[in-house]
């Protein structure tokens, strides 16, 4: 239970898709002009991530990993299909996005129109593929955690696009210098928002390690200084 909660908060705030890894920037920048469309896209991303990550987890466990094909029989035990990861993951993602597109078109034509090309483009949104690949590289141990990871990464992305959309609505009347209008200022805002999100960096894990490293370097430095001083003293004596 504790690991679920930890993973949930970690993927929303600490390893936020946008502010920590800067993934999914294209639709994040393009569809964040209005809060309502941003919410629509964010919800779609949450859904796609929450479905594709566990499905890809199953693929990874039972087909792609080295030795994953053991269940077919002993002779398949040393097959390694992990070079197929990308194409398999993308296939799952594209299928899910098609599904989302059909559903959204049927039930919310207005949202479908305002999202435009960016709805099918979720399929190539790097945050989605990134979710699956992170799942693979971090070796998430169970399907429950994989679902949790997909869902919470999606929520993190959702929060990011929601906040930037609200900020962009707010600064619509600001007198931004002409060369920075549009994407320029959005990038700057994203950077500043990432500073805000850095408050969580090091929570739960990183902080200790960082402190330790610092202490170690400090020690090394003092040792260095000591030797330098000794050398300096020696040279003085020699003179």
């Amino acid at each position: 239970m504790l690991e679920h909660i930890e993973l949930f908060f970690k993927s929303i705030f600490i390893d936020n898709m946008v502010f920590a890894t800067f993934l999914g920037m294209c639709s994040y920048l393009a569809v964040s002009k209005k809060v309502s469309t941003a919410v629509g896209l964010g919800a779609a991303v949450i859904f796609v991530l929450a479905v594709t990550v566990p499905v890809n987890w199953l693929l990874d466990q039972y087909i792609l990993q080295p030795g994953a094909l053991k269940w077919l029989g002993a002779e398949y035990a040393d097959y390694d299909l992990s070079f197929l990861s990308f194409i398999m993951f993308i296939a799952t993602i594209a299928t899910m996005v098609q599904l989302v597109e059909i559903v959204v078109e049927k039930f919310s034509p207005a949202l479908y129109n305002s999202l435009g090309i960016f709805l099918p483009l979720i399929a190539v949104n790097c945050a989605i593929l990134g979710g699956s690949l992170f799942m693979q590289s971090r070796e998430i141990p169970s399907i429950g955690l994989a679902f949790n990871y997909g869902l919470s990464s999606g929520i993190g992305w959702f929060l990011a696009i929601l906040a930037i959309a609200a900020i962009r609505e707010k600064i619509r009347y600001s007198n931004v210098p002409a060369p920075l209008r549009g994407l320029g200022i959005t990038f700057i805002i994203t950077g500043l928002m990432a500073i805000g999100f850095m408050s969580f960096g090091g929570m739960l894990t990183g902080g200790d390690e960082g402190a330790k490293e610092e202490a170690e370097t400090a020690q090394v430095e003092t040792v260095k200084k000591d030797t330098e001083n000794k050398l300096a003293n020696n040279t003085k004596v020699n003179e």
Binding site: A166, E169, I171, I185, M198, S199
Partner: protein, 399 residues
């Protein structure tokens, strides 16, 4: 010729030229304009932006003076040769160390503001007046001046001017400056040495083999995090005879400043109150977790978690951040309901970061920055909720 007419003449002389905004700003900062408007209807109000800013600075002055005394007091205290708090010895150290910080902060910041005003051809905006005063109050006293200058330039240009100047920024500029310093020069901004004048130098001297006594300038938060207890009485914490950055130590004077801001209706009492509530709630949660026995002494969070919940209000920069920075009218939530939510989350997250994030003991700065990011979202939903409510009412009426 009086100063006023000199300034007025200068202003008239440069009227219409590129330099006009600079002289205009100098004139109107000190005096009212010489001429009055003719014709039409006018509303006369005393609280223009300059007066608003000056009111906040007035609320900050007691903290500043106290901070100067305290800087020297803590310095001698750490040296082991305590002097009286209200003595010239302690004040002079504070004065020598704090005044350059103020001068650099104002010099660089206002310089950039003037430059932008001249290039863009608008009047100089007053937004930096408060920021420039806040910055020296929240940085370590021994901070090298060039670092401060770099950070101020970053904060003013990237934090404010690229958005179009005062009133348009999304993050509080003073906190942007501090966050920049914090992430760019972490060795100067955190640790147990930076908050007392001379402690860093002394540590270096010792490291290089000098035979002198160690100064510890450890803050209460630091020693609590290591489970050593506060080491100061509640009264000391409340009145501010503790190590810390210049402005933040005296909760008492900050409280007075906050009351002054509320009385003059410049600071939002909703934000201050709800943020205190948020901090208390979070502190109570931690206390009850400790009482329930889920966290034992062996946990590295025990020290801060078991701190009595209301002590959190007195230590660290919580009071200062809540009163002077969370209430920044530009970056906080604008709606009344939004202010409650915003303030509550500021307090809540401050204590959360303070306790759970060993890397950043000063959670208040980061909590406010984070909530600055989400303030427009909160506002958006408060406004939408209001619209929906009214639509419903309208429907009920017309139906």
């Amino acid at each position: 010729m009086s100063l006023k007419s000199t300034l007025h003449n200068l202003k008239e002389k440069y009227k219409g030229t590129k330099m006009a905004p600079a002289f205009n700003a100098l004139h109107t900062f000190l005096y009212l304009p010489n001429d009055t408007t003719h014709g039409g209807t006018h509303i006369k109000a005393a609280d223009d932006l300059k007066r608003t800013m000056n009111t906040v600075i007035m609320a900050l002055i007691p903290c500043l003076i106290f901070g100067m005394f305290n800087a020297g007091y803590q310095h001698y205290h750490a040296l082991g040769t305590p002097v009286d708090f209200l003595s010239w010895d302690s004040f002079s150290i504070g004065l020598i160390k704090v005044l350059p910080l103020i001068i650099v902060s104002y010099g660089v910041g206002l310089g950039i503001e003037f430059l932008f005003a001249i290039i863009k051809g608008h009047e100089v905006e007053e937004g930096y007046l408060v920021t420039g005063m806040l910055v020296p109050l929240i940085v370590p006293i021994d901070l090298p001046l060039w670092m401060l200058a770099v950070a101020v330039a970053f904060g003013v240009v990237i934090g404010k001017e690229v958005f179009g100047g005062t009133g348009m920024n999304i993050l509080n500029p003073a906190l942007t400056i501090r966050a920049f310093l914090f992430f760019a020069y972490p060795t100067w901004m955190s640790g147990d040495k930076v908050w007392v004048h001379g402690a860093v130098e002394r540590a270096n001297e010792i490291a290089s083999g000098a035979n002198v006594d160690v100064i510890s300038g450890e803050t209460i938060l630091g020693s609590l995090a290591q489970g050593n207890g506060a080491g100061y009485s509640v009264a000391d914490m409340f009145y501010g005879f503790i190590p810390g950055s210049v402005g933040e130590t005296s909760t008492f004077l900050i409280l007075l400043g906050g009351l002054f801001l509320i009385f003059t209706k410049i600071g939002s009492w909703r934000i201050m109150l709800s943020s205190v509530l948020g901090a208390l709630v979070m502190g109570l949660i931690f206390n009850s977790v400790v009482d329930a026995g889920w966290v034992t002494v062996s946990s590295k969070f025990y020290g801060l978690m078991s701190t009595e919940f209301w002590h959190h209000l007195l230590i660290g920069g919580f009071a200062f951040g809540t009163v002077f920075m969370a209430t920044d009218p530009v970056t906080a939530s604008q709606t009344n309901k939004g202010k409650w939510i915003y303030g509550f989350l500021v307090g809540f997250i401050s204590i959360l970061i303070r306790v759970f994030n060993p890397a950043y003991p000063e959670g208040v700065m980061l909590a406010i920055l984070l909530m600055n990011v989400f303030a427009p979202t909160i506002d958006h939903y408060v406004v939408q909720g209001n619209v929906k409510k009214r639509m419903k009412r309208l429907k009920a009426k017309t139906a």
